[in-house]
């Protein structure tokens, strides 16, 4: 039954790949309100939509690919929540006047905390794994995109500050145990 089994195998393979894409839907569903919030509150709808599209694309791709990429994307979603929400919270009232004095600081501080949390998670769960690199790169990319949705409120400087903050928060925590062991 070599040929029919091969056809059945191909059909099962297609179903599996589609199932992997469908498994991204919960993460995409989480991203949708983030993007909505960014569009409504940050007054830069084009940039917010662009970051949102990039985020959805990367979530779909990582869920489809699976393994460290998928785990990294999940961790990145959580790590990016701080830089997403804190700038919006600090600027909620001031933004109405078009001035967001606290936003860049909030972006950097939240990104430092998010990055450190990401680093701690990586240190405890995946530091010895050969997939650690893929995990970290994906997690940082997703966290940066989620953070950008919030830090877009502070403009380019806020986004750059947030990315630097994420890196500064993550790298020492990941690097330190590697030196200590």
């Amino acid at each position: 039954m070599a040929v029919p089994e091969a056809a059945l195998s191909a059909r099962a393979r297609r179903a599996y790949e589609m199932g992997r894409l469908r498994s991204a839907l919960p993460a995409v569903a989480l991203a949708v309100p983030m993007v909505g919030l960014s569009i409504v509150l940050c007054d830069r709808p084009t940039a917010s939509a662009g970051f949102g599209l990039a985020l959805v694309a990367i979530l779909l791709a990582t869920a489809w690919r699976g393994q460290p990429f998928e785990r990294g994307a999940r961790a990145g979603l959580v790590a990016g929540l701080g830089p997403l929400l804190l700038p919006m919270a600090t600027c909620f009232h001031l933004c109405a006047g078009g001035v967001c004095l606290l936003a860049p600081t909030a972006c950097i501080v939240a990104a430092l905390v998010g990055g450190a949390a990401l680093g701690l998670h990586a240190r405890h769960h995946i530091s010895a794994s050969p997939d650690a690199g893929s995990f970290m790169v994906t997690a940082l990319a997703v966290a940066a995109l989620v953070g950008s949705l919030g830090c877009v409120i502070a403009g380019l400087s806020g986004i750059v500050g947030m990315v630097i903050g994420l890196a500064l928060g993550t790298v020492p925590v990941v690097w330190w145990p590697a030196r200590a062991t």
């Binding site: 070599a2 040929v3 029919p4 059909r11 099962a12 199932g19 992997r20 699976g66 393994q67």
Partner: protein
């Protein structure tokens, strides 16, 4: 299923859920005979093949959300049991409704029935093309009523096997017969 195979299935399905494509083939090789056997215990041959295929495809479609803490065999058989239940219900409904007549008043086939028959013939041709040439030749000889090139019992056995393969190829390409 013995303990070692069950543990292997558990590990392979967990790897597949994580996105490791290398685990696809071992899971397929383990599950296909298992699901076919399971379905054939509750359904007649044709429906069992259909239900087993549907179950197998659904197992793979949901493999990405399989929770590795659950028992892989129970999870798989749960999906298969649902498919078997659906197939039985469908079978029951078919029996209750009865097959619609394809003939027109004077006993000749209507245009719709002719189109269906033509489509079915084309599909059989395509399914035959998928088969091993020896199987296709056996079936053509059988259909034409040619004298068998081997002993009667051997020929009957060959026809039986070739028909089973044809049915499988048909179902894979066209869903239900």
């Amino acid at each position: 299923m013995d303990r070692a195979r069950r543990e292997a299935l558990q590990g392979d399905l967990a790897r597949l859920a994580d996105g490791d494509r290398d685990a696809f083939h071992p899971v397929f090789v383990c599950l296909w005979p298992l699901l076919r056997g399971f379905a054939s215990r509750y359904l007649p041959a044709g429906d069992a093949e259909d239900a087993a295929q549907e179950a197998l495809v659904k197992v793979f479609a949901r493999a990405a959300v399989f929770d590795a803490r659950r028992d892989a065999l129970h999870w798989t058989l749960g999906i298969a049991a649902y498919e078997i239940k659906t197939a039985r219900r469908r079978r029951q409904r078919r029996r209750e409704d009865g097959e619609p007549s394809a003939e027109i008043g004077d006993g000749r086939l209507g245009p719709e029935a002719l189109a269906i028959a033509k489509e079915r013939e084309d599909a059989i041709g395509a399914a035959l093309a998928l088969l091993d040439p020896a199987d296709a030749a056996t079936l053509r000889a059988y259909a034409a009523g040619d004298p068998p090139p081997v002993k009667g019992a051997t020929f009957r056995k060959r026809v039986q096997r070739a028909l089973a393969r044809l049915r499988l190829a048909w179902r894979i390409d066209h869903g239900r017969p």
